[in-house]
């Protein structure tokens, strides 16, 4: 028997995505203070495109299978098809009216339960504790659950902008949380290690981390994945695996406590209001020299400390000439 075959494992990657309204096309009715949603298209969250691209790149380098996961209304199926077109192998659609109105805590809870239903996320704990009691459990389709190695998410969504769901999922599944990843240097699936570059406020951190891990990626990580005609064809015919709260057990401890949707969300929107609008400014016209001169006169006071200090240190002038 070939030892290599025995050791070989199908690497499993999951990408979490969301369908969002294209907020750049959203306008506001200032008289009523409401959003004009009419005609605003729904798109795959632009940041998630890079999460998919990063997963496809990792698959290209190391092999494996990519599953896309989303939670959202029936029409979010389109976002999953886009993921298939970009190179994901499978897609799971968690959709149920009971999930509507979820905040980030309730969202990560529902996603976590779904991830647990489809994947073995505790393999690393068993490995560390050297416990052999692997329970062969099945996913909702009756397939043996495979160990999940990596989760990819985008940096944030463009509708919520919270950037909280990635860290929330990582915390729940107990994967190593790696946020703002801009480069994956290497992954060693034998030793369960990876080295990535993280963008932080003051530069780039090179981090060595244990697998399994969640990568919340930046657009810098990969080029947008090109869609080929074959992939588009496959995507158009593809039907995602659809699950709801009857299939995914959202209350495993039988506490009766609602942890999904609006009811399971600790935060609620109390009020929505239109931010104040700024009063109109001055439009400048004329020759560029005149405009430059006028502008500097107007801004002189705010700039003076800089200009004066520099001139003074050179000892050339005592004071910046102000308006005569």
């Amino acid at each position: 028997m070939d030892r290599g075959d025995e050791k070989e494992k199908m690497l499993q990657y999951l990408v979490c995505v969301k369908q969002v309204p294209d907020s750049t096309q959203m306008r506001i009715d200032r008289t009523t203070g409401t959003l004009i949603r009419t005609g605003v298209p729904a798109v795959l969250n632009p940041y998630d495109v890079y999460a998919v691209a990063a997963a496809v790149e990792v698959k290209r380098r190391y092999g494996g299978k990519i599953t896309a996961l989303t939670m959202g209304p029936p029409m979010a199926e389109e976002a999953l098809k886009e993921c298939i077109a970009m190179g994901c192998d499978e897609a799971i659609h968690l959709t149920d009216r009971l999930l509507a109105g979820a905040d980030t805590l309730a969202t990560t809870y529902a996603l976590w339960r779904t991830i647990q239903a489809f994947f073995d996320v505790d393999w690393h704990k068993r490995m560390r504790e050297q416990s052999a009691n692997e329970q062969p459990s099945l996913d909702p389709l009756g397939r043996k659950k495979e160990p999940l190695h990596l989760i990819f998410t985008g940096k944030q969504t463009i509708d919520g902008d919270t950037a909280q769901v990635g860290p929330g999922i990582a915390t729940r599944v107990r994967f190593t949380q790696l946020t703002y990843v801009r480069k994956i240097e290497w992954i060693d699936f034998e030793r369960n290690k990876t080295v990535v570059h993280r963008q932080v406020e003051r530069g780039i951190e090179v981090v060595e981390a244990r697998l399994p891990a969640l990568f919340m990626v930046l657009p810098e990580i990969a080029q947008e994945e090109r869609v080929s005609p074959e992939r588009i064809l496959r995507a158009s015919e593809y039907k995602p695996i659809v699950v709801n709260t009857k299939i995914i057990d959202m209350d495993p401890d039988r506490t009766g406590e609602v942890r999904i949707g609006l009811k399971g969300s600790p935060t609620i929107v109390q009020e929505v209001f239109v931010p104040e609008e700024k009063k109109p400014g001055i439009r400048l016209n004329g020759r560029v020299e005149e405009m430059a001169s006028f502008l500097l006169d107007a801004l002189q006071e705010r700039m003076q400390w800089k200009v004066t200090r520099e001139a003074e240190t050179r000892g050339e002038i005592e004071k910046v000439p102000t308006e005569a």
Binding site: T24, P167, G168, Y180, E201, A209, V288, R302
Partner: protein, 355 residues
């Protein structure tokens, strides 16, 4: 003396906490801003304002936190905390919250703060409002009112966490929204600085920082805290256009910013990006050069004292935000500005032009 509010257990009687973000001993200024706004909230609720700081060899930080208004500082000083890693931070902060039951917990909406707060809130199963720009409190309900821009800044939403079983009420707060309070040094006592052990060993931590590539700038908070910013957008036409902006910025003591479009195009690095997915800035003067003014950009710079817009398109939305608008070619306007600044700075070599 103000009437003391008497509260029963579980009625949100806890203190107001502020996370002091530090890396390599350097405190992110947003921490002091949070102590400023936290002071107001704590006073309204008649509770203590408490700072929490984790790190290694950080003895210099607690006195600063007291000086900026904290009544008390929780300190965890341990070699494991030398580099920021979410795991030990999440574990220890969650444990401290469970022990002391703060009512409200503010964290800076920085890259570090946002990923940490998301993890802590999940561990504590509590409500977290992201990236708040307005903070108030309902004194009667002892409820935090955190408002944030939503739908790309088109609307503001006030988020609350009404059920007291979810505690603390957490919010990340955007840097540069609240001013840094005055610094008043105070004496350290055994009462106001409390040390805690970490209780997490290096082997428990699933990641380690093996290298750091500095972005190279001396002042790490260059853009967010700049007094003058010269920003460029797609109207620059190409990458090289930033050289001109750099020259102008240098001349007036400013720094260079950018719109998302040009960062995505690779003309300039992400740390220059201003806007919803970049930095929030609040300079004295903001020059928007060749920036059309997508709402995502405007939310990041709208609190600038003065906005100057230079754009060839008279209908560009940026002009609605501008105090001074110049419809024209930035490649003519900026050189004229540079020359005029030089003339004013150095009247000997540049005699004032005859009237």
């Amino acid at each position: 003396m103000a009437k003391k509010v008497i509260l029963l257990e579980g009625q949100r009687a806890g203190d107001v906490w502020v996370f002091i973000e530090q890396e390599r001993g350097e405190v992110h200024p947003v921490s002091w801003e949070l102590l400023g706004v936290g002071r107001v909230v704590a006073d309204k609720l008649q509770v203590k304002l408490v700072a929490v700081v984790l790190g290694y060899q950080i003895d210099h930080i607690p006195p600063e936190a007291l000086a900026y208004g904290a009544d008390q500082v929780h300190v965890v000083d341990d070699p494991v905390l030398k580099d920021y890693r979410v795991y030990p931070y999440r574990k220890k902060i969650s444990a401290l919250c469970k022990k002391y039951n703060p009512n409200i917990f503010f964290v800076g909406a920085t890259t570090l703060g946002r990923s940490l707060a998301g993890a802590v809130a999940t561990e504590l199963e509590t409500g977290l409002t992201a990236d708040s720009t307005q903070i108030d409190v309902d004194v009667e309900m002892r409820q935090l009112l955190a408002s944030r821009p939503t739908f790309a800044g088109n609307l503001m939403a006030t988020i609350v966490c009404p059920n007291p079983k979810h505690t603390p009420q957490m919010a990340t707060v955007r840097p540069r929204v609240f001013p840094i309070p005055p610094r008043r040094p105070r004496e350290i006592t055994s009462d106001n600085v409390i040390h805690h052990s970490l209780g997490i060993s290096e082997e428990d931590v699933p990641s380690r920082v093996i290298d750091f590539i500095s972005s190279g700038s001396e002042n790490h908070f260059d853009l967010s805290y700049a007094e003058i910013i010269v920003s460029g957008g797609r109207g620059l036409g190409n990458k090289a256009g930033f050289q001109l902006l750099q020259e102008f910025a240098q001349e007036i003591g400013g720094v260079v910013g950018a719109s998302r479009a040009v960062v995505d195009a690779g003309w300039i690095s992400h740390d220059h990006q201003v806007g919803q997915t970049g930095k929030t800035v609040r300079p004295k003067i903001y020059f928007a050069c060749g920036i059309s003014g997508a709402i995502q950009h405007l939310v990041g710079m709208k609190d600038s004292d003065v906005v100057v817009a230079i754009n060839t398109d008279p209908n560009a939305p940026i002009f609605q935000m501008a105090d001074y608008g110049i419809v024209g070619d930035l490649y003519r306007v900026i050189p004229a500005l540079i020359e005029e600044v030089r003339r004013r700075k150095n009247p000997r070599t540049f005699p004032p032009s005859a009237p």
